[in-house]
């Protein structure tokens, strides 16, 4: 006994101030609490979307739906063109993110690997754009796009958001870390910029490009203020805008079952993507903090 108490004095010390009970109180309880605070509202949304109207419009709450039904989803789809909203969101997200990623890769490559006299000024221009909130440019862009006939069109929704400062910045930071040796060997082979970009830089930068792509997809999918302003025809609305219609059309008493079904449709795809690829998304979104 005396041997064991004497032998590990260093191990004894942390145990003395962080006993098991304190570990649970100070460690697991806050952790579980934080997890539940995030998790429970989302779980409540899912469960509610599967409940029959009688189980929602009641002051006697039950946790689980008595017999799960997709009625709310069907109701939502018959009140507003929900499938169309979903399709519009998918089109806007896929087209917008693809173009943005290509633009970001090209610009970042140019900024890092191509000689040009005003590179620093152009980089600064992009960096400052990162800090201009999109909301303050909404009115002038609306006037411009409306004047070009872009209201209620896909290109009108997509075009003003295509210039990408975030993706360019993130990829530039990554390209700067690539060893110069791999580019030099290609130069000796006489490869042009186009080949160096697609044969060398892009293949070794897949994780970074994936990060930019995921962050872009998430923000395109969630984008609200611009599509809200630029569309007023239901056939052209994206999901977040269409959900707004669902709230407005009901007047004072909300059809919560239908609204929760709508919320599931807009939140679930991103939740699934996040669950599968959270490492990339978290690192992409916190990049400024870690590097800057």
């Amino acid at each position: 006994m005396s041997d064991t108490t004497e032998a590990p004095p260093t191990r004894d010390r942390p145990l003395s101030w962080q006993s098991l009970g304190r570990t649970i109180a100070g460690g697991y309880v806050p952790l579980i609490l934080a997890t539940l605070v995030v998790f429970v509202p989302l779980l409540w949304m899912m469960l509610s979307s599967l409940k029959a109207p009688g189980e929602i419009v009641t002051t006697n709450l039950t946790l689980l739906p008595k017999d799960p039904t997709l009625q709310n989803y069907a109701d939502a789809a018959s009140t507003v063109p929900f499938a169309r909203f979903f399709l519009n969101s998918v089109i806007v997200t896929v087209v917008g993110s693809t173009i943005k990623c290509i633009l970001a890769v090209l610009t970042a490559y140019a900024l890092v690997f191509v000689r040009f006299p005003f590179k620093r000024a152009i980089f600064l221009l992009i960096l400052v754009a990162l800090m201009v909130p999109p909301q303050v440019s909404v009115l002038p862009n609306y006037v411009l796009i409306a004047g070009m006939g872009g209201l209620n069109t896909y290109w009108g929704i997509i075009l003003p958001g295509l210039g990408t400062a975030f993706g360019t910045f993130l990829l530039r930071q990554h390209f700067l870390t690539l060893p110069p040796a791999i580019m030099e060997s290609a130069e000796i082979d006489g490869a042009g910029h186009w080949r160096k970009l697609w044969k060398i830089v892009v293949p070794v930068s897949v994780p970074s490009i994936a990060t930019v792509a995921l962050v872009t997809i998430v923000s395109e999918w969630n984008e609200y203020i611009w599509p809200l302003i630029v569309t007023d025809h239901p056939d052209m609305m994206t999901l977040p805008v269409g959900l707004t219609q669902l709230v407005n059309s009901d007047g004072s008493t909300q059809n919560w079952g239908m609204l929760m079904a709508g919320a599931v449709i807009v939140l679930l795809p991103i939740l699934v993507i996040f669950a599968a690829l959270q490492r990339y998304i978290v690192s992409g979104l916190t990049q400024g903090a870690v590097t800057g």
Binding site: P30, L103, Y109, G163, V247
Partner: protein, 342 residues
């Protein structure tokens, strides 16, 4: 950051052609005449011409690669800043072809009318409480996540998740929870014998409601950034202090807080910027902006809501942008300082 070690190598390599390039530009006429001049070694002439061609080709490649993105940014990010200044001098309804020039009238109104000072007050309250709330709670969650516990990677992901979700979807979920009759919150309050307040209809409570939801959505970001900061604190430092008999609280205040100050400052600025831009949650939870009209939301309502005052809306945007500019300038100064510091 622009002069990191990895950047150092290519920078020195490209310095020579860069310098060469400048000379080529200034002596471009000289380069052609150098064929006739005898005193120049021929090899240098060939070398310079090759650089010239390569630089020119590079310039075209650069333009082809970067121009689309740069032009889009100029057109849809920078141009609006200038157009807004022009619009802000007009008395103008969106969609109408005619407008009256009113000079600085919109600004005078903004800084003198009681409605506008209410908007400023709401913005200040919303910004301070959301930034403070998300940062303090974020730090607490980060401290919990920083322990070597099972499942902390999972917890980190869960806590971060709301940050990537649609503000509209999140707003709807919470609107249901806050519903005075059928919401979970009213059910809990009834359980303890309280009547649920009218969250949406009471202007003060509406602001409390959107603040809570906004903090819920954003504290995960603060937590993850703080966690990265905590993990960069050398463990030897904490161990040494523990050996010296410093208590947990003492170690937190004397070591963790000072070493986290760059992270705190970074989060303060980024959170301020994003709180001032908060739109989705406010728009979906309180469409009329009763008690929740922040600068950005009032600017939206003035132009696209029922007020039909696009000129005034532009003036608010300009005021907001100038405010954000000042804060960004502070941040850039700080980043500079931090680079010197480390």
């Amino acid at each position: 950051m622009g002069r990191s070690n990895t950047h150092g190598a290519p920078a020195t390599v490209s310095a020579a052609p860069g310098g060469m390039h400048e000379r080529v530009h200034t002596e471009s006429h000289g380069a052609q005449s150098s064929r006739v001049s005898v005193n120049r070694p021929p090899i240098a002439g060939i070398k310079r011409r090759r650089w010239n061609r390569k630089t020119q080709r590079d310039a075209w490649v650069f333009v082809a690669f970067a121009a689309p993105n740069v032009l889009l940014i100029l057109l849809f990010t920078y141009r609006p800043l200038i157009t807004n200044i022009y619009y802000s001098t007009l008395d103008w309804t969106l969609g109408s072809a005619s407008a009256t020039a009113v000079g600085v009238g919109n600004y005078v109104e903004f800084f003198t009318s009681p409605d506008a000072s209410n908007v400023l007050a709401v913005t200040a309250v919303f910004t301070i409480t959301t930034v403070g709330g998300a940062m303090i709670l974020g730090l607490l969650v980060a401290l919990a996540l920083n322990q070597k516990l099972k499942g902390r990677t999972f917890a980190r992901a869960v806590v971060f998740a709301p940050y990537v979700l649609s503000g509209v979807g999140v707003g709807l979920v919470w609107l249901f929870i806050f519903d005075p009759t059928y919401g979970v919150l009213s059910w809990i309050l009834r359980g303890v014998g309280q009547a649920s307040p009218q969250w949406v209809n009471d202007p003060k409570l509406a602001l409390v409601m959107v603040t809570i939801v906004y903090v819920w959505k954003n504290l995960g970001y603060c937590a993850v950034v703080y966690l990265a900061g905590l993990q960069s604190i050398p463990t030897q430092l904490m161990e040494a202090a523990a050996l010296d008999g410093a208590s947990n609280v003492r170690r937190f205040l004397s070591i963790v807080v000072p070493l986290l100050s760059p992270t705190t400052f970074f989060l303060l600025i980024t959170s301020l910027l994003s709180s001032l831009q908060a739109f989705d949650i406010i728009r979906i939870m309180t469409p009329s902006g009763n008690g929740t009209s922040t600068l950005i939301f009032d600017s939206y309502l003035q132009a696209f809501g029922s007020y039909n005052r696009a000129g005034y809306s532009a003036a608010i945007s300009v005021v907001l942008f100038v405010g954000l500019l000042v804060m960004t300038a502070v941040q850039l100064r700080f980043v500079e300082r931090k680079v010197h510091y480390s």
